[in-house]
């Protein structure tokens, strides 16, 4: 169907309102609540992911030059697993949870029933545009909601692919994609949603939450931060393995453009040169002598981000600090894996989330100082530690506040469905993955069943001293206190 530019409908507030209304009508009909509907949609997503793998790989190549293996590993396979987990566990997740009741409300029975919130909005990001669009949608569908997905306009090939595929595979009366940029997003944010799930940066997150506040809409905000890596010099770690894992988490994840990529490293002054050497060796073995040309690295997403990253390198405060890499090709939007050593704490690169292939190393005299360095800044989404020292591990876990922590590896916790994935403080609000996704899009309704047997007259006026005594015993005492109260003791 051909559409000329003149006829293309602008997605404005009115359109947004109509979309929400349509979805609300579907939701109110009860269609999305049934187990059968949810499973059918989850299976459809799985089919979409399996059948359209090539198209997805191609879109990500267009948007980010993402190596096919990264797309398969991080976007497609992870999404498939997420679908499969939801399909396998859905019955169990949907079942009401029986809870114990105490003597105070005897006789009674109680349960917690999960119910969908209604019509939800998922706003996705550009760096894992396929995964970060559909993974939250899995949660929304599993929980029985109707969904509008707004993919990032900075990954346009994936955005249009999602529009096409979701229209083809999914139930259009309850799942819609709205493409666009600031205007379209604003139009969407003006509507009343039952939940908004946002993945992106802190600046836009504030706008999203403020818009949500108008309708008292609960939000999940998956943001980022400067995820630090502490490398211990004193516990005889296998440096080669540690280095490879750091590289895999940094440049192996969309060339550092990932919310949980190692942002910077902290290690001791004397160990830093050893670490740098190890990084250089392993980087070369992964990406060859000419990493700017390597097909195994994503490019920088667009010229804005390229300029932003260049600025970090051009900062006077880091001049002379580059010990590896630093090559740029603006026409191809490529920056080679770059390591900087001993950057000052007040440099630009140390005061914003890098989100790119630059890795600064900060050195300290004693490793324990690294905890203070991290805690003096905003709470990151992830923090990493490489060590064999048990005490250091314990201290790290106890002292560092971040969304999630990984010891002796990087980024893997993203793939573990039994761990909640989300931030704290500036790195976000709420969590998802596995059952946490289901919960994020559900209302947990408390249901209490009482009977007419045994009414306590102490509940009602006229209020007397005796009633007061009974009341006290009933509220806070156990059985003995109640018996005592019956026999007139208090």
């Amino acid at each position: 169907m051909a559409t000329s530019k003149v006829n293309k409908k602008v997605f404005d507030s009115e359109e947004a309102l109509t979309t929400v209304k349509d979805l609300r009508t579907t939701f109110d009909s009860g269609k999305t609540r049934s187990y059968e509907w949810r499973i059918s949609q989850l299976k459809a997503l799985l089919e979409l992911t399996e059948q359209k793998e090539q198209e997805i790989v191609k879109a990500l190549c267009n948007d980010l030059d993402k190596p096919p293996l990264e797309t398969v590993a991080y976007e497609i396979s992870m999404l498939k697993n997420s679908c499969k987990t939801a399909i396998k566990e859905l019955k169990h997740w949907m079942a009401p949870e029986k809870v114990k009741t105490s003597l105070t409300t005897f006789p009674s029975s109680a349960e917690i029933v999960s119910e969908p919130l209604g019509v939800v909005l998922v706003i996705s990001a550009w760096n894992y545009p396929f995964l970060l669009s559909l993974d939250p949608v899995i949660g929304a569908i599993a929980a029985g909601n109707a969904v509008v997905l707004k993919p990032s306009e900075l990954a346009p090939a994936t955005s249009s692919l999602l529009t096409k595929l979701l229209a083809e595979y999914m139930d259009n009366s309850s799942i819609r994609v709205v493409e666009g940029a600031v205007d379209e997003t604003s139009a969407l944010l003006q509507q009343k949603w039952d939940k908004i799930f946002y993945t992106g940066n802190g600046k836009v997150a504030r706008i999203v939450m403020a818009a949500a506040a108008k309708n008292l809409t609960p939000v999940v905000l998956e943001l980022g931060g400067k995820s630090p890596v502490i490398v211990d010099s004193n516990s005889n770690i296998n440096l080669q393995v540690a280095t490879r894992r750091i590289i895999a988490g940094k440049w192996g994840c969309n060339n550092g453009q990932a919310c949980i990529s190692p942002d910077y490293i902290i290690t001791t002054k004397d160990y830093a040169p050893k670490l740098v050497d190890s990084l250089k060796t392993e980087l070369e073995s992964f990406y060859g002598k000419n990493p700017l040309e390597s097909k195994d690295l994503s490019r920088i997403v667009n010229s804005n981000h390229f300029a932003r990253l260049s600025k970090l390198l051009d900062d006077d405060k880091v001049s002379g600090k580059t010990v590896y890499g630093g090559e740029k090709d603006e026409s191809k939007l490529r920056i080679s894996p770059t390591i900087l050593l001993d950057v000052p704490r007040d440099s630009l690169i140390m005061n914003e989330e890098i989100f790119g292939p630059l890795l600064p190393i900060i050195t300290v005299d004693k490793l324990e100082e690294s905890f203070d360095v991290i805690n003096s800044g905003p709470k990151p989404l992830a923090a990493y530690l490489f060590t064999n020292n048990k005490k250091l591990k314990e201290q790290f876990v106890k002292t560092i506040s971040a969304g999630g922590l990984v010891i002796n590896d990087t980024t893997l916790h993203l793939a573990v469905h039994t761990l909640p994935f989300g931030g704290v403080g500036d790195s976000g609000v709420g969590a998802y993955h596995g059952k946490f996704s289901f919960d994020a899009f559900s209302h947990k309704k408390a249901v209490l069943y009482r009977s007419f047997f045994g009414d306590a007259s102490i509940r009602y006026p006229p209020y007397t001293k005796t009633k007061m005594r009974f009341l006290k015993a009933l509220m806070t005492g156990g059985l003995l206190a109640i018996i005592n109260a019956i026999f007139g003791k208090s």
Partner: protein
């Protein structure tokens, strides 16, 4: 920033510094504070009852039942359970990541702000404080200025029992609230009206501060036909207790309106009148059994609800007011117009509209066409109807054949949905609401999987595919070169 503003800034800074010392994270500290709250309540029962009487005309039994007793129960439960709650929860990690260990560790959020409300001014300040303390946070509590005696009590007494470095009371009105909201908090817990909740959340958005909003709504009571006369009697008693016996209807979980089948409505109304007389007698103001209306502003608001002539015409019991004593008689209305304010706004007072329907099942549609309430009450013995109510309506909670007791059940999450709020607390939910659940994954540096790393090739791609499917057998075959490539 004025003098008060600077003081506030200092206070917030000091609290942050104290939190950083880590003192509030220790289980001993938390238990000490919880015990201190218990001591506070035990040793000040009379003073608290007095303050509640002064602010709301609350009878001491109501004060105990709804406030003191609740705080005691909550503090004791937290004291007994906090150590258990603090323990990390193990998470299973797939074999693929062997060797690995995973857990979720709760940690305090930091400096939290609690806004209390005026109708249960002690309970709604101390109960969230209990949650915040159990979770290891430092706290600022802002009691409602509309309950000044209780606000004063808290400001004077909390410092005598609790660690003053960690728990602070800030008194004041709207202007103080505004000032407080200018600061960065690690969590805001708000109990109150949707209008103010919007202001709080908008402020919180500036700093991405997570919030819990405990609001209200029009909590309906569905009254199905009960054939057993003693059941019927009990149901009516419970309804009367839940309307007027709880702060004269000024409660978020109080019954707002009743839904009943037309043919039973007169029976229900007669019995309602009978129990009102029985519980509250004829000299309601003197007998002091019923709370009064909190202040002139709310008194006028409630009187205005009755001013609409069509609404006034629907009054079938009560309706008299005593402006000096801020007292409004328990009032029943039969089928007031549905577009009148009394049926579109949360009443929060001693006026009970009885709405008749043809068939009781219509209640579901009636409730669903309105904003989601905090609680739906239903009196019925019809199990099918019960299931339908749970499946087809949405509310913070549902209670069958009783009222208000869900508040005491600390294994049930207490909170709203939609316009009635989001987030929840009570029992462990209080602890959780003031915690960050930190995911922790432990790995080892031995046992490496080569295919994780570039340069990429077909072998590695296939490996990763198999790995993600947790197809361990396939992986082994692949490694041995025995698997065909797709």
């Amino acid at each position: 920033m004025n003098n008060n503003g600077l003081e506030l800034e200092e206070t917030v800074k000091e609290l942050g510094q104290y939190f950083k010392t880590g003192k509030t994270k220790s289980v001993t500290w938390r238990k000490n504070q919880l015990q201190a709250i218990l001591n506070l309540v035990h040793e000040n029962e009379d003073a608290i009852s007095k303050a509640l009487y002064q602010d709301l005309g609350k009878h001491p039994v109501e004060a105990y039942r709804d406030e003191l007793g609740g705080v005691e129960k909550s503090a004791q439960n937290s004291l007994d359970s906090v150590e258990k709650w603090m323990a990390p929860t193990k998470s299973n990690i797939p074999l693929l990541f062997f060797p690995a260990k995973g857990e979720v560790l709760p940690e305090p959020l930091g400096v939290v702000l609690i806004f209390s409300s005026w109708n249960f001014p002690i309970m709604l300040a101390l109960d969230p404080i209990i949650g915040a303390i159990s979770a290891g946070n430092v706290v600022v509590v802002k009691p409602s200025d509309q309950a000044p005696a209780c606000s004063s009590f808290l400001a004077n007494t909390l410092p005598q029992y609790l660690d003053t470095n960690a728990i602070k009371v800030i008194e004041g009105g709207g202007d103080v609230c505004e000032q407080i909201l200018l600061h960065k908090w690690d969590k805001i817990f708000f109990t109150g009206s949707p209008r103010v909740a919007r202001i709080v959340m908008t402020s919180a958005a500036r700093n991405l501060t997570p919030v819990t909003l405990e609001l209200g709504g029009k909590c309906p009571a569905i009254f199905d036909h009960l054939s057993n006369p003693s059941d019927f009697k009990m149901a009516v008693k419970r309804i009367v207790g839940a309307k007027w016996g709880i702060c004269s209807g000024q409660a978020c979980i109080g019954i707002d309106y009743l839904l009943v089948e037309e043919k039973y409505s007169s029976e229900v109304i007669e019995l309602l009148k009978k129990f009102i007389r029985k519980f509250y007698g004829d000299n309601m103001v003197e007998s002091r059994v019923l709370s009064r209306i909190i202040n002139k502003q709310h008194f006028e608001r409630l009187c205005n609800l009755l001013k609409d002539p069509l609404v006034a015409a629907s009054i079938i019991h009560g309706g008299s007011i005593d402006e000096t004593n801020l007292f409004i008689e328990p009032t029943i209305l039969l089928d007031p117009p549905l577009d009148a304010e009394i049926m579109t706004e949360e009443i929060f007072g001693p006026l009970l509209p009885v709405i008749t329907v043809n068939k009781i099942q219509e209640s579901i549609g009636f409730i669903n066409s309105r904003p989601k309430p905090l609680t739906i009450y239903a009196f019925t013995k019809d199990d099918t109807f019960k299931r339908k109510i749970v499946a087809e309506t949405s509310s913070g909670s549902v209670v069958f054949n009783d009222t208000l007791v869900q508040f005491l059940c600390d294994t049930l999450p207490f909170g709203g949905v939609g316009q009635s709020g989001f987030g929840r607390y009570h029992g462990k939910y209080s602890f959780d609401t003031f915690s960050h659940e930190k995911a922790v994954m432990h790995r080892h540096l031995c046992l490496e999987i080569e295919p994780r790393y570039p340069p990429w090739n077909k072998f590695k791609l296939e490996f990763i595919r198999l790995a993600y499917r947790f197809n361990y057998f396939g992986l082994v075959l692949h490694m041995l070169g025995l698997k065909k490539h797709n």
